[in-house]
């Protein structure tokens, strides 16, 4: 058994340029060839990446005080409502907010051409964005309305702050019961088990390479949208209690991350507004982590391959929406990536929503940053909740309002 490496030792190697970095995809082969012990000695850092729609994302913006001053109470950015229930000139623009007046699903499937995620992408791309705001006016903030162009370079602060990113594993969506194609956040799912839509980078995905959150925790420095940012909390719906396979890898959606990063440092290549037909707007975001190979256990975890990771196949035409039934089965990412899976005696073509090409590019970018000494690892100041500590994932305790409330 080798002696463990510390974060300090790994960072010293990053500074001296001696660090050995491989991507999570390469680590599969490294461990396959050298074995866990030798791989743990040789490799210092394994980089991961994922690029896909992450709905629970958004950005805080402080656009500066106008003359006369104004406490904005309702605001629109390129006609997309932004949340203004904060101090005078702070806004939060949520990724999935759609343009005011969008026809939504009135003519189904709606197209959702523009929304919060597109505003964020436009800001990152350096485009001018129109800010419209209204206020009731106060003695200290007399102004009642504003209509102006803003640009990211003029904002005091603009930072992404995402309640839930980088889901550790996810469902595979199929359509078993509807007599038509369905339009979901997992894309167009074709009728009669006509497609199996999945959305994870599998073996390259951050939390699948650190199944028990030994390395990724609060304070972990990450790649986010092309910039360096941080994990600041567990993500919403973080559920470490999901059943796991013999490698410790959850067999369904499990851990999640809350992330933060400076919008001004981001690149629109990694921050892409997307329109999901019949569903709504989302943000395709690039996230990557650098996992320290502290010991053999970390080498083993990061050597996970697509064949070792399974996902539940869930019907989205009825079961998902109504919380009914059981998964129709489980399937590995190796099978999903072959382009076709077997389900109920049928051959079902698969379609990803998460770009593996971009996930790989993120892992490679992070690797080059580390090799160039531009990205050091940060030890978590606190781990994410473990399976033992977590209450698990709760459904809403629905209490009709006719009953007595306020216990």
């Amino acid at each position: 058994m080798m002696l463990g490496k510390s974060y300090d030792e790994i960072n010293a190697k990053i500074r001296s340029g001696e660090v050995v970095v491989v991507t999570a995809e390469e680590m599969v082969d490294v461990v396959g060839e050298l074995g866990v012990a030798k791989a743990a000695e040789k490799v210092d850092v394994v980089t991961t990446g994922t690029f896909g729609p992450m709905c629970s994302s958004g950005a805080f913006l402080n656009f500066g005080h106008s003359t006369p001053r104004m406490k904005v109470t309702q605001a629109w950015l390129n006609e997309v409502p932004a949340y203004a229930g904060l101090a005078a000139v702070d806004l939060y623009i949520g990724a999935t907010e759609v343009s005011a007046g969008d026809p939504l699903n009135r003519s189904h499937p709606g197209r959702f051409n523009y929304g919060g995620a597109h505003v964020i992408q436009d800001l990152v791309a350096g485009k001018d964005v129109r800010l419209r705001g209204i206020a009731y006016g106060t003695d200290c903030y007399p102004r009642r309305e504003i209509d102006t162009w803003i640009n990211i370079k003029d904002l005091n602060e603009a930072y992404m702050c995402n309640p839930r990113n980088a889901y550790q594993n996810y469902n595979v969506a199929v359509n078993k019961f509807a007599d038509r194609d369905i339009y979901t956040y997992m894309g167009v799912v074709k009728k009669d088990l006509g497609s199996a839509n999945y959305c994870s980078a599998g073996q390259l995905s951050p939390l699948l390479n650190d199944p028990h959150y030994r390395a990724i925790g609060i304070g972990t420095r990450i790649f986010i949208g092309g910039a360096q940012g941080y994990v600041f909390w567990q993500g919403t719906q973080h559920d470490p209690t999901t059943p796991r396979n013999e490698r410790g890898v959850p067999t369904g959606g499990a851990g999640t991350l809350s992330t933060v990063g400076d919008l001004k440092q981001m690149d629109p290549r990694w921050v892409v507004g997307v329109s999901m037909l019949g569903y709504g707007v989302s943000l395709a975001l690039g996230i990557g982590t650098a996992i320290p190979i502290l010991d053999e256990e970390m080498a083993w975890y990061t050597s996970v391959s697509d064949a070792d990771i399974v996902a539940p196949i869930v019907d989205y035409s009825r079961n998902y929406g109504l919380n009914e039934g059981e998964p129709l089965g489980h399937v590995s990412y190796a099978e999903l990536k072959s382009g076709e899976i077997e389900l109920e005696g049928r051959k079902v073509p698969t379609t990803p929503l998460s770009s593996y090409v971009r996930a790989r590019e993120i892992a490679e970018t992070l690797k080059s940053w580390i090799e160039a000494g531009e990205f050091e690892l940060s030890e978590p100041v606190q781990p994410l909740p473990s399976a033992e500590e977590s209450p698990g994932f709760k459904m809403l305790n629905y209490r009709p309002v006719e009953e007595e409330g306020g216990e």
Binding site: G187, K190, K191, V272, S275, P349
Partner: protein, 135 residues
């Protein structure tokens, strides 16, 4: 003799109707099936080369329209903006002809304009809007 290339969309109800043979028996045109598919909505999709005098071709197209077939000229051009495409793959299962497909090794999504029949299905499905159709 002229040739016109057209894309025909047959609604479900017309799938078992002999529209093409009725058309060629009524008008003095020849035809050449370049591609035929059933799409995601059980719509028939056919790319046809129609040969004959221009006037006859026009009337034949008019007749097919009257039968409820949607006819598009094939000089429509579908293009992909490779800068915008993220290789997400959301389009693969909706494309009826396999013009959009994934390279299983590189995981890149390839667009083969030769196979594209300009049906336009991928345009609103593509999440970052990389696909567009030009007339």
């Amino acid at each position: 003799m002229a040739e016109r290339r057209i894309v025909l969309h047959f609604p479900k109800e017309l799938l078992d109707q002999p529209v093409i043979s009725t058309t060629v028996s009524r008008y003095d045109v020849g035809f050449n099936i370049l591609r035929a598919n059933i799409t995601q909505d059980q719509e028939g999709l056919m790319v046809l080369g129609l040969q004959g005098e221009l006037g006859e071709i026009e009337s034949a197209i008019e007749f097919m329209r009257d039968q409820g077939v949607r006819v598009q000229p094939l000089d429509q051009d579908v293009v992909r903006d490779d800068e915008v495409c993220t290789d997400c793959g959301a389009c693969i299962v909706v494309c009826p002809t396999g013009a959009l497909s994934m390279d299983l090794e590189s995981r890149e999504v390839n667009f083969d304009a030769e196979k594209c029949v300009a049906c336009g299905i991928c345009v609103p499905v593509c999440p970052p809007r990389a696909m567009s159709i030009h007339f």
